[in-house]
Amino acid sequence: MSVQTPALRLVGIVKTFPGVRALDGVSFEVLPGEVHALLGENGAGKSTLMKVLAGMHQPDEGAIFIEGRKVTMRTPLEAKAQGVVLIHQELSLAEEMSVAENIYLGELPRKRFGLVDRPTLLAKAGAILERLNCRFGPEATVGDLSIANKQMVEIARALTVDAKTVVFDEPTASLTDAEKVVLFDIIRDLKARGVGVVYISHRMEEIFTISDRISVLRDGSHRGTLITADTDEDAVTQLMIGRSLDLSRNHEAPDLGPVALEVRGLSCDALFSDISFKVHSGEVVGFYGLVGAGRTEIAETLFGLRTPSAGAIHLDGREVKISSPVSAIENGISLVPENRKEQGLVLGMNCRDNITLPQVGDLTAGPFVSDGAEIAIFDHYRDKLEIKTPNWRQLVGNLSGGNQQKIVIGKWLSMRPKVLIVDEPTRGIDVGSKSEIHKLIRDLARQGYAVIVISSEMPEVLHVSDRIIAMYQGRIMREFTAEEVTEDTLVQAISGIVANGDRAA
């Protein structure tokens, strides 16, 4: 293999963003006809590397070679023209347009006067869809398709050009098992035709099924490349997690207070059903499951953003009706949402104003907001949570992810909640701040808050939780205490496999 010219080769790629060195001299190559898996935790630099590959980011240092030629790719279009195609995890399709139009968007076949050549368009798109074994036609409207089928449209789009390298970013995140089989066939087909495939995924099992080599990124640098046939999951995990992050299991015995929150038989249409659990004050309960298992939706229901179709919520033994975030906050439930920037922060406002946002109505002197009272609250939480900002006037949009998250947490602590729900506490946060946030969550429990942590990262759930609730397709599969949980049983529970090895109905 060593004599082959790589389809794509990256050498010493460095990319920095204000305050973050996202890629630190990463080198990586894909041979023609090879599936090269790229692994790493969230924030390890995978997505930045991909954006460099796809021409969306320019590297600060380093070079990109395609079939031995040095190239620069300034836009996604240029990357595509060079034969590098990226299949996004987040779909970028025009929902109101037809499948065929989406596949050829930007390169629609034309007739005279710039009119679209519809017969040619449909014929060409139809041929590609047939090759992919798609069960929908080129004239279907993209908005009507399932997420999996939309992904197929993305893949079809990649096949319209003579791709030398195709990058798949978490392609199976929303696919069913049957659809995965089809996807793997497509990848093998690409491989057979000498295309280099970069396959990015979290899922070990898939990586060992499909890849030839595995490269691991951690903290923005390349930690090693392994030949799939000669390695095993342990070796890969070792490289991925390293020893830099203390994610040992939580062995602290919780100092349990009374039950703060009890949920009985909570259901919400198709999203989740029959959810019952208790959270004591002084306890951290982790919710673990795959994306789409209904965890975030439960949090949103507890916070009044969704209306449950059945079930009851008890706080301190008293049944409460939570119809809106306003009533959730009044009842002492706070939510640190999954997407900090979209749901949690007002990025154009300063640090102080973000922290006091929910209670600014109570901080008045006459008709005006009291500056002094606000600054006092900000100072208190800056010190308590060790928020690193030059002063309270700093716009929240300029802070690092970890400090932004602390602002959101500070905002809710200042409301003195009984129950604090933290959804994906460390998403997009660098490793150093991660452990600070973890420590903070443990501290909060020790101070008597009832804390719910929702996370898609197993080490995180194991590290912070006193109890873990495993969810699968909107249902609670199993509840574990910190002592009894093992990675195996947890993975089985969230994959819908119950204790005796059968699949859940």
């Binding site: 906050i329 949690g344 007002v346 990025l347 406002m349 929910p358 109505g361 008709p367 905002k411």
Partner: protein, 334 residues
């Protein structure tokens, strides 16, 4: 960080720099081109300018609040006309005949303001309860309210001559006439509202990130309703100030006022997408437009060219603003 601070400073100061530029330009150009002997920067001329700015200016203050909030109100021109009709016509209503020329004034003003508040509240309620975009809702109410104006008196203008009212409207303090005083006072008041009160704080938060505002327990629907009521009130107040002196409303009056108000707000640097902006800078935007009109008139340009120049300047300003914003951010080229 220093660059972002500098950018912010440039953006805040830009409108005042522009006004200064206008003053210098028209003063110098006026020497050579003006047909009249008066200086452009004559005190009386400037006081007159302030008075003339008031009708659009008062509406623009409300528009600033609405736009910071992430909404827009296209119906202000029609609300302006309808409030004016109510103010003038109500003075002739038989039930108020006993009040006399002076006594009827507060009643007429009150009814006009109530009209503005009611029409604004209707806009706000529809936006809140249906969740339809404010642009669409107020586009509809712009047509609807204008329809009401025509239903009231057909194509005929509505007249009223109340000399006590005219005298009151033309009274002045230290040379500042009634409309100018109202405009300045309101600018200060709304500035306090937006920068010092909870309502103002929430307005910025809702406009910047509505989802985060909902999650922070802000009642976004009622909040937006209050802002529509405020702009309705201010628009009616603008009509009160203007028509108290004039005494005659044409059914087409207030046409395009919504666009002039939006132009002034945007010139003042408020973002169309909401979340940022300043009432003081809107004041600057209003003055800049009025200076341009007067200045071009002063140097003998046709009234037709005025709109063309203002249009070009608006586009240039937004282009510069965009350049300042994208510097170093690696935004996608289109």
């Amino acid at each position: 960080m220093t660059t972002s601070n500098r950018t912010k400073l440039i953006k805040r100061g830009a409108i005042w720099g522009f006004i200064l530029l206008e003053l210098v330009f028209f003063s110098v150009a006026g020497r050579f081109l003006s047909l009249s002997q008066t200086q452009f920067m004559d005190l009386d001329n400037m006081l007159l300018l302030l008075k003339q700015s008031a009708p659009i200016g008062i509406i623009a203050l409300g528009m600033t609040v609405i736009m910071i909030n992430g909404n827009i109100d296209l119906s202000v021109g029609a609300i302006f006309a309808l409030s004016a009709i109510v103010m003038l016509d109500s003075q002739t209503w038989p039930i108020f005949q006993g009040l006399g020329e002076l006594g009827v004034i507060p009643v007429a003003w009150g009814l006009a303001l109530l009209t503005g508040v009611a029409l604004g509240a209707l806009n706000g309620l529809i936006v809140w309860k249906t969740g339809v975009d404010a642009f669409i809702v107020t586009l509809g109410s712009m047509l609807g309210y204008r329809g009401l104006v025509f239903m009231y008196n057909g194509e005929q203008p509505t007249f009223l001559l109340n000399w006590t009212l005219v005298d009151l409207a033309e009274s002045n303090v230290l040379g500042l006439e009634f409309p100018a005083i109202v405009f300045i006072l309101l600018t200060v008041l709304i500035w306090f509202l937006m920068t010092k009160t909870v309502h103002g704080r929430n307005a910025y938060a809702v406009g910047d990130n509505r989802e985060a505002a909902v999650n922070a327990g802000i009642r976004v629907g009622p909040h937006m309703l209050w802002n529509f009521i405020l702009i309705g009130f201010l628009t009616a107040l603008s009509a009160v100030v203007f028509y108290s002196a004039s005494g005659s409303v044409n059914p087409n009056d207030g046409g395009l006022y919504e666009l002039w108000a939006i132009t002034a707000v945007v010139l003042g640097g408020t973002k169309l997408t909401g979340g940022s902006g300043s009432v003081i800078n809107t004041f600057g935007g209003v003055i800049a437009i009025q200076l341009l009109r007067k200045g071009l008139g002063h140097i003998g340009a046709d009234t037709e060219t005025v709109n063309l120049v203002i249009g070009l300047i608006l586009i240039a300003v937004l282009f510069l603003d965009r350049q300042l914003n994208i510097k170093g951010k690696g935004e996608l080229r289109i």
